[in-house]
């Protein structure tokens, strides 16, 4: 799975998260910061990760989530890591 596909999938997930600033979803890049740029509450990152597991049919480790950064590229890296492990 390519990074661009994951980014598109992530955008679909974010559309379903009411606490994410929906007006800012169109300009998302890998450098976008969930918390600083999208005003995502830090507690919501877990919810996004849980939805990503379903969407991409992967499973994150608890420790993966502990070390997760706040940028979109961190999330994409995590998805790829989980894919590789599967």
């Amino acid at each position: 799975m390519e990074r661009e596909q994951i980014l598109e999938g992530l955008k679909e997930i974010l559309k379903t998260i009411r606490t994410v600033d929906q007006s800012k979803l169109t300009g998302i890049t890998e450098e976008t910061d969930f918390i600083a740029d999208l005003n995502t509450p830090s507690t919501e990152m877990i919810n996004i990760a849980a939805k990503a597991e379903q969407k991409f049919k992967i499973e994150f480790d608890d420790d993966d989530i502990d070390g997760l950064g706040s940028k979109v590229k961190d999330f994409i890296d995590l998805v790829l890591k989980a894919k590789a492990r599967a």
Binding site: P41, S42, T43, I46, N47, A49, A50, D62, D63, D66
Partner: protein, 188 residues
């Protein structure tokens, strides 16, 4: 009941001090009354003199939230992790610290004074990646009620409906109380 018990089905009968990392003056929880691990928990506390000191004899709202969090997200989260890792609560305390992540709306309907016994009744709405979210309520209990006997017949249906007798007084409603266990080395 010892922390070394090989398998535990729930937290009832275990002293909160065994489960919680908090020191004795910070534990706002006396006893687990009912616990269904995937659904929720009921626990009680009676505010002590030290809890209301310098606050006109009233147990503070912020301490109600803390008491609720200890009874629900922290205790249930510890139960989940202990079960997952197959270790003791004492070993868990050496690995993780419970972190208060957030609270949603909280509405207070009444108040609590020294000697009032209250229950925290929490419904688990989310558990994953060591994060637990609970909604719930705090009720002042009727004086003299045998809480162990009362909750011995409790069940998940009653939990979800907050099905209690009319002499329980609603004190607070709490939503999205969120906590997470973080590894100690991440907090340094």
């Amino acid at each position: 009941m010892s922390d070394k018990t090989a398998a535990i089905n729930n937290l009832v009968g275990i002293a909160p001090a065994v489960v919680l990392s908090h020191g004795p003056t910070k534990i706002l929880l006396d006893k687990y009354l009912w616990h269904s691990p995937e659904a929720g928990i009921v626990a009680c506390y009676t505010p002590k003199e030290r809890d209301v000191k310098d606050h006109f004899g009233v147990f503070r709202g912020v301490d109600q939230i803390e008491a609720f969090a200890q009874a629900t997200i922290v205790s249930c989260g510890a139960f989940f992790e202990r079960r997952k890792l197959g270790c003791t609560f004492e070993e868990l305390k050496g690995i993780f610290d419970p972190i208060f992540f957030g609270i949603g709306p909280v509405r207070f309907h009444s108040y609590l004074e020294t000697g009032d016994t209250f229950i925290s009744i929490g419904q688990i709405t989310f558990y994953k990646f060591r994060q637990v979210i609970c909604n719930g309520r705090i009720y002042k209990t009727p004086k003299g009620l045998d809480l162990d006997a009362y909750f011995s017949g409790f069940n998940e249906e009653r939990l979800l409906a907050y099905d209690l007798s009319n002499d329980f007084i609603l004190v607070a409603e709490l939503e999205d109380i969120t906590g997470r266990a973080l590894k100690k080395d991440l907090l340094k």
